[in-house]
């Protein structure tokens, strides 16, 4: 695995894990309000997912 491929796969997997986690957290928050947001800002996590998504798109484009 070259370093370029390694990075591409890693960013792709981080993005997948982040999005799946966001969906799980968001579902938990809908089922029980405050479950996540009492302890953690979900907007920041959404921002993280968007950022990783943008990085992944830029890396794949190159």
């Amino acid at each position: 695995m070259t370093s370029n491929n390694f990075l591409k796969s890693l960013i792709g997997d981080i993005f997948t894990i982040s999005v799946v986690s966001l969906v799980v957290f968001f579902t938990a928050e809908i089922i029980k309000p405050g479950f996540i947001t009492n302890y953690f800002n979900l907007n920041l996590f959404l921002l993280w997912c968007i950022l990783i998504g943008i990085i992944q798109v830029l890396i794949t484009k190159d």
């Binding site: 796969s9 890693l10 997997d13 894990i17 799980v24 957290f25 405050g34 009492n38 302890y39 953690f40």
Partner: protein, 201 residues
């Protein structure tokens, strides 16, 4: 080969991170350790202690040096404590500044719709300097209404109406207590929970 193993280890760590965080949140929400501590210092909102109301009996949030406070000039003033589960007891520590002749009481609602409440004076008052004092009061929550994950409370100032005085509050701190989850009572609680679910169906 080595690179692939290394990659798998990184991937495992990345998967475990949100899983561990989710387990941490479950523990926090089920309050397995039996207590929850929260404070509202008027600087930033608290997810557990909701803002004071109604607005026509209180001032805007003001600041004095590093302190943020809200002034109460009429009574009663309400606030809710939003907790993830039902609790057995709650302790309040309220930091306030008031005239010596002012009586400050805290009340917990059995049911706000029936206007049924339990009122208490601060049982310990500690002087903090600069006119600020910290009062402590404890309520039993077993018979209080817990709806929409909230217990309802009020600050009663029986002598403030038309007096022109103000009571400043700079911090409300709570410690809510319930039975902790232990290996001994886990199965008992699980059984009760299942029975409650079946009864609802």
């Amino acid at each position: 080969m080595r690179s692939s193993t290394f990659y798998k280890i990184i991937l495992l760590i990345l998967i475990l991170l949100p899983v561990v965080f989710f387990i941490f949140l479950v523990c926090q929400n089920f309050v397995i350790h039996g207590f929850l501590e929260a404070s509202y210092n008027f600087k930033k909102p608290s997810p557990f202690i909701l803002p004071l109301a109604p607005k026509d009996r209180i001032s805007e949030i003001e600041s004095e040096g590093r302190d943020y406070y809200q002034s109460l000039f009429d009574s009663p003033v309400y606030f809710d404590v939003r907790l993830p589960r039902q609790f057995a007891r709650i302790n309040f520590w309220v930091e306030c500044r008031a005239a010596a002749e002012e009586t400050i009481q805290l009340a917990a609602f059995y049911n706000k719709d029936d206007w049924h409440y339990q009122v208490k004076d601060f049982n310990q008052v500690e002087n903090l300097g600069d006119g600020w004092q910290r009062g402590e009061v404890e309520f039993d929550l077993t018979d209080k209404k817990f709806a929409w994950q909230k217990y309802q409370f009020m600050i009663s100032l029986p002598q403030i109406r038309d007096s022109g005085r103000r009571v400043d509050i700079r911090e409300i701190r709570v410690l809510a207590l319930r039975e902790p989850l232990t290996p001994e009572n886990f199965w008992l609680k699980l059984g009760r929970w299942w029975r409650r679910i079946f009864n609802k169906l």
